[in-house]
Subunit: 397 residues, 2 copies
């Protein structure tokens, strides 16, 4: 069975033996293995692989220049200690849907593309959906290339080390091939599980969301000999920021998370010289999210620090016509908004008709080694994606 084989092939790539989670970061050795896997899966199906100038991989059934075509797929990279499903489920399901269409003798009326967007999680360089943002021009090439990972390596150097050029940027030739994009993804909350109605849903919109960085200055000093009034300890401001983020999110119907921090020099007996804290904030309404961020910005500035926007994505509603067509094809499955960003959202913001299919997540856990979806639900996802593609590919371009 094709889905299980594809899935099993991926299960060891980039897995951390201690956590059981995945560490599949952009342009690393694990990423190279994932890209080889993608090329191999495409080759075994006779699909032509192209790589756009930003490094995203495209496998085409039919000549993409006779399109525009219908594209499906997702990403293969992960957050630190991420789960197996976030990303790979969409790519594996795409190949499995190609197999299902061929098994039933279907002949597409327009080209079908399977895509692997690179660097979706932003785990290495800090900007999510870097591959699709570069492709669409939403991220400036010079800014992206100068981003540094935790070891100080720039994206430019990482691309070069991975054998890629640095001629990244908006790629109109590639974008013209995409008549519509449908991304299948494991749900990352409990929307479907709580409804208890169906194994799949269709997305309505992606919440507005952003990443912000608080630079909190201090003064390094000895933990034993420096009197409390003489200290400039930035961990105090950091602690207030963490608690304020939660409190403000509760009051404003949003979510805010301080998942990453860097303390310098991070020694037990040294008052830190600097704390860098990152805040991820999202919610159904932009005004509410902005209210949370405003409070955190004020708090940071009162502490003598700077609160810097690293990325911001406005609310992204998916194409209403395509959404309704997906729901009709799938016999009235639920429609849900999501707090997670996706490459589908980046393409939708460019006016490309875009939709998403979510597969039920029984615990709602994601970005964790414990992320899970039932095999039966994953297969229901493949069936749904196959039906959607059959419908869209049968229509004239």
């Amino acid at each position: 069975m094709s889905f299980d084989e594809l899935w099993a092939d991926l299960s060891d790539v980039g897995r951390d033996p201690r956590s059981g989670g995945y560490r599949r970061f952009a342009w690393t050795r694990a990423d190279a293995e994932l890209r080889e896997w993608f090329a191999g899966a495409a080759a075994r199906r006779g699909l032509d692989v192209t790589v756009d100038r930003c490094g995203n991989q495209w496998a085409w059934w039919g000549d993409p220049d006779t399109g525009p075509g219908i594209v499906t797929g997702s990403h293969l990279d992960s957050v630190p200690d991420g789960g197996a499903f976030d990303g790979p489920l969409g790519v594996v399901s795409a190949f499995a849907a190609v197999d299902a269409l061929r098994d039933k003798g279907f002949q597409p009326g327009r080209p079908l593309g399977v895509v692997n967007f690179c660097d979706e999680e932003g785990a290495r360089f800090g900007i999510a959906c870097a591959g699709s943002r570069l492709l669409t021009g939403a991220l400036a090439p010079e800014r992206a290339l100068a981003l540094r990972d935790a070891d100080g390596v720039t994206m430019a150097d990482a691309l070069a080390a991975a054998g890629r050029g640095t001629d990244v940027g908006r790629d109109d030739e590639t974008l013209r091939r995409v008549g519509a994009f449908v991304e299948l993804h494991v749900e990352q909350g409990r929307g479907l599980a709580d409804l208890d109605a169906a194994p799949v849903a269709v997305a309505s919109a992606i919440w507005p969301h952003g990443r912000f960085r608080a630079d909190l200055p201090g003064e390094a000093n000895h933990a034993g000999t420096t009197r409390l009034p003489d200290r400039r300890d930035p961990t105090l401001a950091y602690a207030r920021l963490v608690l304020a983020a939660r409190d403000a999110a509760e009051r404003h119907d949003a979510v805010a998370t301080c998942g990453k921090v860097r303390v310098e020099p991070n020694g037990v007996n040294a008052i830190p010289s600097h704390v860098t804290a990152w805040v991820d904030a999202r919610g159904p309404r932009e005004a509410d999210v902005r209210a949370v961020l405003g409070e955190l910005s004020s708090l940071t500035e009162r502490a003598g620090g700077a609160f810097v926007e690293e990325s911001w994505t406005a609310e992204t509603p998916f194409d209403a016509t395509l959404r309704d067509r997906l729901v009709a094809t799938l016999s009235g499955v639920p429609v849900l908004a999501t707090g997670a960003g996706h490459d589908a959202g980046i393409l939708a913001a460019q006016g490309i008709p875009t939709g998403m299919i979510f597969v039920r997540n029984p615990t709602g856990v994601s970005h964790s080694p414990a992320e899970f979806a039932e095999r039966a639900d994953c297969l229901a996802g493949v069936t749904a994606l196959t039906a959607v593609l059959e419908d869209l590919l049968g229509a004239p371009a």
Copy 2:
């Protein structure tokens, strides 16, 4: 001039070009360079170098087995981004004092040792004064050897990689040679600077102090899709711990510092699965420090975590007879207690007559690249140490 030459030789070893501070961690390449420097400085003075089973280096003027002798020195390792003075000033001043004694034609009546205690800061494996604690048996060898650094390397493996054996442990033969120990050290607070009376002081006692670890469990999850009530976010408990440490220290006349933290997986868009936080607590009175720690332990346990003692050192008064003799030799310089731990404190706790000489620190800043002492004050320290050694070495064993 010997002091300046010795000082200049050390200035580039293990220096981080970005911070300007030192990263001289036990059993690293930088540490090996420092040990070579020590052996070279001893050799140029015709001192015999021995290394005890714990890796501490001893340079002897005279046959140590005719002792017990008088020992001076300090350590050469550093905290992350540490200053130039903390440790090295005591070793450099020791060699400079040997030179000064010889310049005046002094013939010691008993052996003089210069020591470089290894791994004093505990920056790599988390236990301060590891070299002197192992030497005296205050730290169990099996516990020390199993300690791991941030990369998961054990102390046993680090010793082996540095060409050392792992037969560490109490070394009576070495300890018998130490009739008295006088450690010169830069002051790490503003006691001397605030008194504005003298460039050097004599230590009365080391405050009781300890290191504790709070293990705060959470549940990894997606930062965008996990509803606030469904979260188990350990950064909230960590933030409360940081603020409670400061608040409790203020109420109990103590100091407490959360200088080091490890967040897992430390991704911007992932709720952390675990936070490990370290607390350094000290103060003039043990009951007060214990009161602070009791509050932090309760808070950690209420958050479902564990509050673990990594090390504890009771108040360590220095030998009163030796202290008075140092003060008399130095014409009534001030006597100060200190919040910083030292190898001198470890030896004092073993009943070895031990004293300390502090050199004025104009800003009080330590454990920072900005740590500083005036050259004139350092030379006054050498003069003071020379006088003290001349006095002690002239006396019969």
